[in-house]
């Protein structure tokens, strides 16, 4: 007589207990569930049963089949889980303190300050322009209402070149070209490198950066100038900056101003940094001189405008506490490599 269903189940349990590898599990599956497998074989006995018993018998065989399938799958899963645990146990624990390798390049501090200021002006609709470092007398002086015999043209201030050109002494040298490029209305800033023929010391450099800004439209007034300077400087210094204007003379503006900001160190009370005045002289500015607008091809009856110059080098020194201006052009990486951002 063939083996009974119950006996077969017990026998399977015995075999399963003994199996311990994926190969053994696979052999069990074939032995019991394969085409010629033992569970499959039970179904062959069905023909010998009465019709009323067949249904019940069939169900029981199928239950056994499911049980075998499930039991094997469970054991495989268990074995896999054990495997993973083994792997974890054997895996190395990594050192979290290994030095990381970030490329530690550095920006020049002027780049950092310039970007900040450019972003502020870009957000207020100013185009950011650029200009040559080598210019001619017309752009540097004549177009800016600096007459032929103005002291600024004297040899001691300006670097003249053997070909008759010169190194620009101020970013204002770009005003004319930019007015001619865009016409009015216009709002533009133009940072650039400037040159003055003077000896260098901790406070003086012959090569330095400025940023010029101009805004030209109908009805631009002194009141607007003060507003823009205050807004811009408050953004630059990230505090509500108090500004004051004093008369200042620059041939390319009229009226011309020296703009002072309240001293951040003493809060305006007076300290050595601000020579006890509570104010720091920061940037020259003014209403663009009608002659300059005229040279730039702008109708002075219709348009007025303001201009200002910001010392980027000075700003960078203030921001980072650089005491010796010569550090900036020194190329000394002990100084410059600190500006990682």
């Amino acid at each position: 007589m063939a083996i009974s269903l119950e006996e077969l189940r017990e026998q399977f349990y015995e075999n399963l207990k003994a199996a311990d590898s994926s190969e053994a599990f696979e052999a069990l599956r074939v032995r019991y569930l394969g085409k010629k497998g033992e569970v499959t074989g039970l179904l062959k006995n069905m023909g010998a049963l009465a019709a009323e018993q067949r249904k019940e018998y069939g169900q029981r065989v199928n239950q056994l089949k499911a049980l075998v399938e499930q039991s094997i799958a469970d054991r495989i899963a268990e074995a896999h889980a054990r495997d993973l645990e083994n792997k974890i146990a054997l895996a190395p624990k990594f050192d979290l303190t290994t030095p990381v390798q970030i490329p530690e390049g550095s920006y020049h501090p002027i780049t950092l300050v310039q970007r900040e200021v450019e972003q502020i002006f870009a957000s207020m609709g100013f185009v950011i322009e650029d200009y040559d470092e080598i210019v001619d007398d017309y752009h540097c002086f004549e177009a800016l209402n600096i007459p032929k015999h103005h002291p600024a043209r004297d040899m001691q201030d300006t670097y003249y070149l053997t070909n008759g050109q010169l190194l620009k002494t101020h970013t204002s040298a770009a005003q004319n070209a930019i007015m001619r490029k865009y016409g009015a209305p216009l709002r533009a800033i133009f940072p650039g490198r400037c040159f003055r023929n003077e000896s260098t010391d901790a406070c003086h450099e012959n090569t330095f950066f400025q940023m010029e800004g101009i805004m030209i439209d109908e009805n631009i007034s002194i009141s607007n100038l003060i507003y823009f300077m205050k807004t811009m400087l408050s953004e630059v210094f990230r505090r509500d900056v108090k500004v004051r204007l004093r008369p200042g003379f620059f041939p390319f503006v009229e009226p011309g101003f020296e703009l002072d900001i309240s001293c951040a160190i003493c809060g305006g009370k007076g300290c050595p940094s601000c020579k006890n005045s509570g104010w720091l002289e920061l940037c020259p500015c003014g209403m663009i001189h009608p002659n300059v607008l005229k040279e730039g091809g702008i109708d002075t009856e219709k348009y007025t405008g303001f201009a200002f110059g910001l010392g980027l080098t000075r700003l960078a020194m203030m921001k980072y506490g650089v005491k010796d201006i010569r550090d900036l052009n020194s190329g000394n990486l002990k100084a410059l490599s600190q500006f990682v951002k």
Partner: protein, 788 residues
């Protein structure tokens, strides 16, 4: 310039006002005040005394025992001054009084007790040094405090000269007083002047030829019988407080007039002056100025001559020979206006910047000449009533500045200021500043006063400044504009620069530096780098740094060298300008340029070189989606390696080079290091177009990779193999990549991987083999074949 508030108060009544506040408002309305000094505050209790007895000191030859009369009592002290004598009046500090630096107590001087002190000018703080006691006039009131009788107490402020460059009228106290009159809204008093027309019948001072191009006005006046030699105490104090030194009455008066009116004058000893000429000399010569220095005078320099003999450098300084001396009793006073440009250039050429030349440089008002002469006469005759004017005011007034009249309306002022300043306020401010104003409703016509009309005030915008500065910028309401906003597209060059810096710093760890636009010969020579032939500075201060760089490396390699101990491996870069020679019109060919220089101690130089190629390719790809190719070229610069120098191509343009550094330069920097350089011309790069994204439907079929290993000669490059495939275009070949380069024992092999994909089917190896065979056939012609 130093300004005495006592002097100002002579012309504007400032009583009841806070002087410090007024001076602060002067900064905000006129010119920057740098410092304020309270003078004479240390002196107290010092009285006027007469020396009644001078007796020898028992223990000293130099010291004396002095008895003084204080009016109501006598006092005693020990005195060491050499000029002490009976009958003189002096400042005396009794016990308890204070002078500069000390309070008088009881002291034993060489064994004698002294309870007081006879004072010098220095001790009263009205001179830098003194050789003896300050001798007061014979009628000085005995017993009175010196600080009550003389103007020792004063408030003095110093104005930044730079902020006065455009204001010739502010180089004298009277002009400053006019500003205070506008600021404080108090009337300005007139000047006390002699009536020169009273001398019109006297003979003229002989004046001959005048160079009217450089001398706009020359006037002179002769005064004889000057007996007094010393200036009044108050005048001496004012001169001292304003930074000058009392010398003699006539010299002091010229300085006083200059400090008061801003008009320099010159006092010649009449004995040395015959016919005056104002001219240039044809030949250079040497001239001794009154400071005792011999100076070279060239034919450009305007001189004052007396019968062809030079007596003064016009507007700068007088000569030693014609100077006022102790026995001068006749003065010929020069009041003149010289060309500002001529004086400035002369002063630069002879290296002499004087109080006079500083003022002439500012373009003085010629109208001042007569006023200065009248003021000088008034003061001199007041001090020395015996003196006599013996010539008429002799005047050669050749050049008159045009009269400036300006018209504007209220709307113009409102538009410029953005606020509303009333018509009454406009008229009041301008009138106080000396402008003639006519107002009809909203229309104004303004006559600019002569002292502002030489160059300072010429257009309507200048008037806006006058009105607003007195109104006060602190009083402005501030407002944004109502201008329309337009989109702003960033400039490509600016965007390129920013992206390049970000990539080099953040991705490749380079350091950004700034270097000069000129080469430093002293730094290049030790590195065996020659100075380029290029445009130079005409007037640089450093003779070794005059040639402009034609490559970034001329400044970056020295920078790299100076940092060579910074780290074993590092790189620097700069985006700056180089001058690549001159354009056809002679202008500098200025190129915006990226320079990269790297130093490494890598054992296999091929690796950092490949990194440099990666870096350049990445930068170009980031910005333009363009593949870069490198082609070996012969070096153009001395530091470039003869073998490893290559041009960089992107989008069909040569945009720069990469180069290993020539061993001659490398050895000079670091024998064991390997140096790399690259430059990109960013102006050319700006013209390289961006490669737009072109979308392709992804293939539904898997691709096929085929690896080929070539046995090659040492010189063969991956590029040659790649090029052979590129030369035979195949739609299904999507990518050629380098798998490996192996070099050993003189044998070299290169393994490449070809990736094929078809959009319509799964490719099989035989389908691509015929294509590969064709290319292999081409490669074989160059002796490049598969390995083994």
């Amino acid at each position: 310039m130093k300004v005495s508030m006592n002097w100002i108060s002579e012309y504007v009544d400032l009583s009841g006002l806070d002087l410090k506040d007024l001076i602060h408002r002067f900064t905000l309305s006129t010119a920057e005040v740098e410092d304020v000094y309270e003078m004479g505050r240390e002196v107290s209790g010092v009285v006027i005394a007469e020396v009644v007895r001078v007796e020898p000191h028992p223990n000293s030859k130099k010291l004396h025992l002095v008895t003084v009369n204080l009016g109501d009592r006598e006092d005693h002290c020990v005195c060491g001054a050499p000029n002490v004598r009976e009958g003189m009046r002096i400042p005396f500090a009794p016990f308890g009084a204070s002078v500069v630096g000390m309070t008088i107590g009881e002291a034993s001087i060489a064994g004698v007790v002294s309870r007081g002190m006879c004072c010098s000018a220095q001790e009263l703080g009205i001179a830098d040094s003194s050789t003896g006691l300050l001798e007061l006039p014979e009628d000085a009131p005995l017993g009175r405090l010196v600080t009550d009788v003389y103007a020792i107490r004063d408030t003095v402020f110093e104005v930044d000269n730079k902020s006065l460059t455009n204001r010739p009228d502010l180089w004298g106290h009277y002009g400053i007083a006019r500003e205070f009159s506008a600021i404080a809204k108090r009337p300005l008093k007139g000047l006390d002047l002699a009536d020169l027309s009273a001398y019109d019948n006297l003979p003229a001072v002989p004046i001959g030829r005048i160079d009217e191009e450089l001398c706009y006005r020359y006037s002179a006046l002769r005064i004889d019988n000057v007996r007094k030699g010393v200036s009044p105490i108050d005048m001496q104090i004012r001169l001292y407080y304003c930074g000058m030194r009392a010398i003699s009455l006539l010299a002091d008066l010229t300085n006083y007039i200059m400090l008061e009116l801003g008009q320099p004058t010159h006092a010649f000893d009449s004995r040395k002056i015959a016919r005056i000429q104002v001219e240039r000399f044809a030949e250079p010569f040497e001239f001794e100025t009154l400071d005792g220095v011999k100076r070279k005078i060239d034919p450009e320099t305007l001189m004052i001559k007396s019968d062809e003999t030079p007596v003064a450098i016009a507007g700068v300084m007088g000569g030693l020979d014609s100077e006022i001396v102790a026995d001068t009793d006749s003065v010929t006073l020069e009041c003149a206006t010289f060309s500002a440009v001529s004086v400035r250039k002369t002063s630069t050429r002879v290296g002499l910047r004087t109080d006079a030349s500083m003022r002439y440089e500012k373009t003085l008002d010629p109208e001042l000449c007569r006023i200065a002469a009248a003021r000088f006469t008034k003061l001199l005759l007041g001090i020395d009533p015996g003196a006599a004017v013996v010539s008429r005011f002799t005047d050669r007034y050749g050049y008159h500045y045009p009269v400036v009249t300006l018209s504007f309306d209220q709307a113009f002022i409102d538009r410029y200021t953005g606020i509303s300043i009333s018509g009454e306020q406009i008229v009041d401010t301008l009138t106080r500043l000396g402008f003639g104003v006519t107002r009809t409703g909203d229309d104004f016509t303004v006559l600019v006063p002569s002292w502002r009309a030489t160059k300072d005030v010429t257009i309507k915008a200048d008037i806006v400044e006058e009105i607003t500065r007195i109104y006060g910028y602190d009083n402005f309401r501030i407002e944004t504009t109502l201008s329309a906003l337009h989109p702003v597209r960033p400039l490509r060059v600016k965007a390129d620069e920013a992206a390049i810096k970000d990539a080099l710093v953040k991705q490749f760890g380079l350091h950004e530096v700034h270097s000069y636009i000129w080469c430093d010969a002293k730094k290049l020579a030790p590195l065996n780098i020659p100075l380029p032939e290029n445009v130079r500075l005409l007037n640089g201060m450093n003779p070794d740094a005059t040639v402009l760089r034609d490559s970034m490396m001329e400044t970056l390699l020295p920078t790299l060298n100076e940092n060579r101990f910074f780290a074993p491996d590092f790189g620097i870069f700069e985006i700056g300008r180089v001058v690549a020679g001159q354009k056809e019109n002679g202008d500098c060919n200025e190129r915006r340029t990226l320079g990269v220089a790297m130093l490494t101690h890598a054992l296999i130089p091929r690796i950092p070189f490949a990194l440099l190629l990666d870096m350049i390719s990445t930068v170009v790809w980031n910005l333009r989606r363009q593949k870069v190719t490198f082609r070996n070229v012969r070096p153009t610069f001395a530091w470039q390696h003869p073998k490893n120098t290559a041009q960089i191509f992107a989008g069909g343009k040569a945009i720069g080079y990469v180069a290993a550094v020539h061993p001659a330069v490398q050895e000079a920097i670091d024998r064991r290091a390997f140096l790399l350089t690259a430059e990109i011309d960013l102006d050319t790069f700006a013209e390289v177009p961006e490669n737009e994204i072109r979308y392709e439907e992804p293939s539904k079929f898997p691709g096929i990779d085929i690896d080929l290993s070539f046995a090659v000669g040492e010189e063969t490059t991956f590029g040659q193999i790649e090029q052979a495939f590129a030369a035979k275009p195949n739609d299904t070949l999507k990518k050629i990549s380098l798998v490996d380069v192996y070099e050993a024992d003189g044998a070299k092999s290169i393994t490449v991987r070809l990736h094929f994909v078809s959009p319509v089917k799964t490719l099989s190896k035989p389908e691509v083999q015929s294509y590969i065979d064709e290319v292999l056939c081409d490669l074989a012609k160059n002796n490049i074949g598969l390995r083994g």
